[in-house]
């Protein structure tokens, strides 16, 4: 009823190409932003931040990054865990080496460094495609984890081989280390999430996104109409790497605080983020959020209902959780192979006509 484009006229091309062309959508987006910035920080506690909000926000950035590469540019990557590790170790080295610089810049710089590494491992994509490329990026995953384990310089030769985030502040408020207040960590990540989403959206609705999608849909035709495949693919790897690096940096510095590379950034992480992208919807920024929410929230929800609500033993609940999440993934992919974003799109199209579909 209220979800309408009728009467919502566009008088300029700028209006027409905006992110939320429908008024209702636009207001909903503003409401969500206001809620996220002005309400949530005051009501959340430690449990909510660590179990729900931080992982959701951080995985959203990773999913946006991977979605640009897989969903928009069509280059399958299984190296996400390794690239997140690059972000984590880069931010660690920067934090330790330049304690006087704000961690804000460290995180961004870590994204930049990851972008460079990602481009390097993206070079094979110029020659190989599809599954073969996936296997090539798998090499990145194992190589990066191995090198962070083996080369002492990366973890400053600490005896445990772990890296620990020292305390750093933004405007005097600690955002890393043990003293961090839940709301501070949340806001710090939220800022990066919102900025990432806006940047990703801008890139994908402009010429860069069109080049990526052209390569994804038909690379030969793309080349013949003038897309330089080298530049298009590598820029996708760079942008994707940047976001994945951001998420890796935040994952280590803000969320975990201490990291052992094989455990935190193993191949599981690569698959987890890839599943988020597939379940959420390839080629959709909203889908990245939806996928991250699905895979972060569902386990928490299940655990709370099974353990808290039904009083089952924790280990049984943990195993059941795996089975239920796995089952739901399969059901979802059969019912809607284009992911949650497509469900959302269909729902919106229906809403547009509701309640008079004829």
């Amino acid at each position: 009823m209220f979800y309408r484009e009728a009467g919502d006229f566009k008088t300029s091309y700028t209006d027409d190409s905006q992110t939320f062309p429908i008024k209702f959508d636009r207001y909903r987006y503003y409401v969500v932003l206001v809620l996220a910035f002005a309400v949530v920080p005051f009501v959340i506690n430690d449990y909510w931040v660590n179990a729900v909000f931080l992982p959701f926000l951080i995985y959203s950035i990773a999913a946006i990054g991977l979605n640009i590469l897989v969903g928009y540019c069509g280059q399958v990557s299984l190296g996400t865990g390794g690239f997140m590790a690059v972000g984590a170790y880069a931010v660690y080295k920067l934090m330790v080496a330049f304690p006087e610089v704000s961690i804000f810049f460290h995180v961004i710089l870590a994204g930049g460094i990851t972008a460079g590494v990602c481009v390097l491992f993206g070079l094979p994509s110029l020659r190989i495609k599809g599954f073969y490329l996936a296997v090539a990026t798998l090499a990145a995953q194992f190589f990066l984890v191995w090198i962070f384990n083996r080369v002492g310089w990366f973890y400053n030769y600490s005896a445990s081989g772990q890296i620990n985030a020292p305390e750093r502040t933004v405007f005097g408020v600690p955002v890393t280390g043990a003293e961090t207040a839940p709301w501070a960590a949340y806001i710090f990540c939220l800022v990066f999430v919102v900025a990432s989403a806006i940047i990703a959206r801008n890139l994908t609705r402009g010429m860069a996104g069109r080049k990526w999608m052209a390569i994804r849909d038909m690379d030969i035709a793309a080349e013949i109409i003038g897309v330089n495949p080298l530049k298009a693919k590598l820029s996708a790897f760079a942008v994707s790497g940047f976001f994945v690096g951001l998420s890796g940096a935040l994952f280590f510095a803000v969320y975990l605080g201490a990291v052992e590379v094989g455990e935190a950034f193993g191949i599981n992480k690569s698959f987890l983020v890839l599943f988020m992208v597939i379940i959420g919807g390839l080629g959709s920024i909203f889908g990245s959020f939806a996928g991250a929410a699905f895979l972060v929230l569902l386990p928490v929800l299940l655990k709370n209902t099974l353990v808290g609500g039904l009083g089952w033993p924790t280990d049984l609940a943990a195993h059941l959780e795996f089975m239920i999440v796995g089952g739901l993934i399969i059901i979802f992919l059969i019912a809607e192979p284009h992911g949650l974003a497509q469900l959302w799109r269909v729902a919106k199209e229906k809403l547009r006509l509701w309640p008079f579909p004829h």
């Binding site: 801008n202 402009g206 010429m207 080349e223 013949i224 109409i225 330089n228 942008v239």
Partner: protein, 273 residues
């Protein structure tokens, strides 16, 4: 054809055709032992509609692929705008202003019609990633300016109503038109059309012919096309190259070609006695 000079000629309907814009000189293309194109030379003049015809397997599409830089001939030279063209990648050829459509449609199925046509503007849009990321400055300006041009082309080809539809959902005839729109969006110096009317019914063919003539007329675009429908070819084109088994067997105005004995033999067959 009347009074052919280096500067051009005038067609029967009074259109002025300009100087040579592209020239193929003794092109030979081999795939291993198979000779796809053998020692073919012809030229394309500014503003004309140049047809390449021939039976199946004559090497017409290979010829277009040579022009668009997809194949590199073993022998011969391609001259473009008065200079010999070095070996180029397809996207470099596109950047030089040669656009094309494909025999079996090569649109970006996951993108909307608008995005497909906008992709054709790639040559005119050069904003950097950073500017695009914040959607300010050059990127935003370019987006709006080019959108205006694209809207004109969309208008021209009468596909306004499907602007926001993903291409994958469109019927065949419309896809062909969108592909033409994408090629036109590049404002090409030469437009290559590979069988623009393949698989169309009479009505759609008439529409497409009208669009091709209009494009040539209104934008003055030079067009080289491959087509099997002889009626269409003879009506549309100013000059025709006829190929058979990789060799050129005729070249001239539609009337000249129609009288050419070698062409008649190639199409109707010749008695082997």
């Amino acid at each position: 054809m009347n009074d052919m000079t280096p500067d051009g000629y005038t067609t029967e309907d009074g259109r002025k055709i300009g100087a040579v814009v592209m020239e193929m000189r003794n092109i030979t293309l081999r795939f291993g032992g198979v000779v796809a194109i053998q020692d073919i030379s012809f030229d394309i003049r500014e503003g004309e509609i140049r047809a390449i015809i021939g039976p199946n397997g004559a090497g017409k599409s290979s010829m277009l692929n040579v022009i668009s830089g997809f194949y590199h001939p073993q022998e011969g030279e391609v001259w473009y705008k008065g200079a010999k063209r070095p070996t180029m990648k397809p996207y470099e050829v596109a950047q030089q202003g040669i656009a094309r459509t494909f025999q079996n449609i090569a649109l970006f199925e996951g993108m909307t019609v608008l995005d497909n046509v906008m992709t054709g503007r790639i040559r005119q849009m050069s904003a950097g990633l950073l500017s695009q990321a914040i959607w300010k400055g050059k990127a935003e300006r370019e987006e709006v300016e080019n959108r205006e041009v694209v809207e004109k082309i969309i208008d021209f080809l009468e596909i306004q109503h499907i602007r926001k539809t993903p291409v994958g959902r469109l019927p065949y005839g419309l896809k062909k038109r969108v592909e033409l729109a994408r090629a036109l969006a590049a404002e090409p110096s030469i437009l290559l059309l590979d069988e623009p009317m393949a698989g169309m019914n009479v009505e759609e063919k008439e529409d497409m012919s009208r669009f091709i003539l209009d494009v040539n007329d209104e934008f003055g675009t030079t067009i080289a096309l491959i087509e099997h429908d002889m009626g269409v070819v003879m009506d549309l084109s100013d000059r025709v190259v006829v190929m058979d088994y990789g060799k050129k067997i005729g070249d001239g105005s539609p009337d000249e070609v129609r009288q050419n004995q070698a062409v008649i033999d190639a199409y109707l067959g010749v008695a082997h006695d």
